[in-house]
């Protein structure tokens, strides 16, 4: 048996050498992709132990010492998160990050609130209907990214297709996307809730559900933000609904029988349970945000809905 183990060990060690990579250091995990081959990248979950690399104890020879770590997943993650983690150290952050927020100097423009990924979805009764969606503020918004690109009128125009897609320049999009910076002073920091990270995600998902966001938009939110919200134990959520967003970033939708419901969650991370007795750079929320939530009872022919999550810049 010992001889068999020894032979197996030699065989696997040769395999590792052929891959040109030694054992991964602490807090990293071995991954493999077609393009890169083997590589050590940071674990998604730093507290997870690699069972095969655990030292069995004093006086016991570990037959697996020097073996490559297993290829396993600590939790189910979307494909892009794995690929992103191969290339970038901060894929699990909403941008270049330094607690408690985004490193502003890496991004153009002004505005302390980084609204990451407002996604605009459509839920329509129409199979094929022309629309246009335009940013109409006097001052040009400080965009950071858009998909698709905006036209010269700072908008998107095309058709609503199959009730829940946009067609812009003959290409179908499940949603319209933009990132931008917004002024903090025009946002509200009174209404909200504080919760654990998991509780915060669940709260936001329930909020979207209560406003009748489509299953697809809820699924996208869940997939994206479970990866992109940094791993701090607590968050306070300050929802910005139409009441706050319409004046700051007004939109004109050129389509009859249309309602636009907007929700942007500003998240403030906390390394320990928020305590109202201690000084807080952003005051803890004191009011229930649900009374300011846009009503979702009245359904119109074309329901545009937008969700986003925002963090403060440092």
């Amino acid at each position: 048996m010992k001889i068999l183990l020894l032979i197996s060990s030699l065989f696997l060690i040769t395999e590792v050498s052929a891959a040109g990579l030694g054992p991964c250091q602490g807090n990293t995990i071995r991954v493999w992709t077609q393009s890169v081959g083997y590589a050590c990248v940071p674990r998604f979950n730093p507290v997870q132990q690699d069972p095969f690399c655990a030292y069995p104890g004093p006086g016991v020879v570990n037959p697996f010492q020097g073996f490559p770590g297993p290829l396993y997943q600590t939790q189910i993650m979307p494909w892009w998160a794995y690929q992103g983690n191969l290339y970038y150290p901060n894929v699990r952050y909403p941008g270049v990050w330094s607690y408690p927020g985004i490193e502003s100097q890496y991004y153009p423009g002004e505005g302390q609130v980084f609204a990451a990924k407002p996604n605009v979805y459509i839920d329509s009764v129409h199979q094929n209907k022309k629309f246009s969606f335009r940013f109409i503020s006097e001052k040009k918004p400080q965009f950071l990214a858009t998909t698709p690109t905006l036209d010269k009128n700072l908008g998107w125009s095309g058709k609503i297709i199959e009730k829940d897609k946009f067609e812009v320049e003959d290409i179908y999009y499940d949603y319209l996307f933009y990132d931008l910076r917004l002024p903090k002073e025009k946002m509200q920091f009174t209404n909200g809730v504080c919760a654990t990270r998991e509780g915060a995600i669940e709260w936001m998902l329930k909020d979207l559900k209560d406003m009748k966001y489509s299953a697809l938009s809820q699924q996208d939110f869940d997939e994206h933000w479970r990866v992109k919200i940094p791993d701090y134990p607590y968050y306070c959520i300050y929802p910005q609904y139409n009441r706050e967003l319409d004046p700051i970033i007004p939109i004109e939708i050129n389509l009859e029988q249309t309602t636009f419901i907007r929700s942007l969650y500003v998240l403030i991370p906390h390394k320990k349970e928020p305590d109202g007795e201690e000084y807080q750079a952003v005051p803890l929320p004191t009011k229930d945000p649900s009374e300011f939530r846009p009503g979702a009872k009245i359904q119109r022919e074309n329901m545009f809905r937008e969700w986003g999550v925002a963090f403060l810049g440092n």
């Binding site: 393009s35 992103g84 290339y87 890496y106 991004y107 698709p148």
Partner: protein, 105 residues
């Protein structure tokens, strides 16, 4: 007073003219996925310094635009089928428009 006005006018013109963007259109062969992720990062060889600034999901033939400061960046595209694209760009005064041609690895 006039000089001050001219200076302010010049500075505001500079501020408008200084908008820098990296835009692109996704082009992928049929054996790639219907959607790809476009990643924008600092152009660094070292993994720990290659900070990700933004990313966006783009459908086949779709378009995107990143608004950036002057500097050196990597624009990468990847998809679920193993198709890839990488371009290093240096922006100082002019915006860049890319044809993101995916390649199956």
């Amino acid at each position: 007073m006039n000089s001050l006005l001219y200076l302010l006018l010049f500075l505001s013109f500079q501020a408008v003219a200084a908008e820098l963007t990296i835009s692109g259109k996704l082009n992928a062969p049929s054996d790639c996925s219907k959607k790809a992720m476009i990643w924008l990062s600092l152009d660094k060889e070292n993994y720990n310094e290659r900070l990700l600034l933004m990313h966006t999901e783009v459908p086949q033939s779709g378009s995107f635009k990143f608004y950036v400061k002057a500097g050196a960046y990597q624009v990468r595209a990847s998809d679920e089928a193993g198709c890839e694209y990488l371009k290093k760009v240096q922006l100082s005064a002019e915006s860049i428009d890319l044809e993101v041609q995916m390649v199956k690895k």
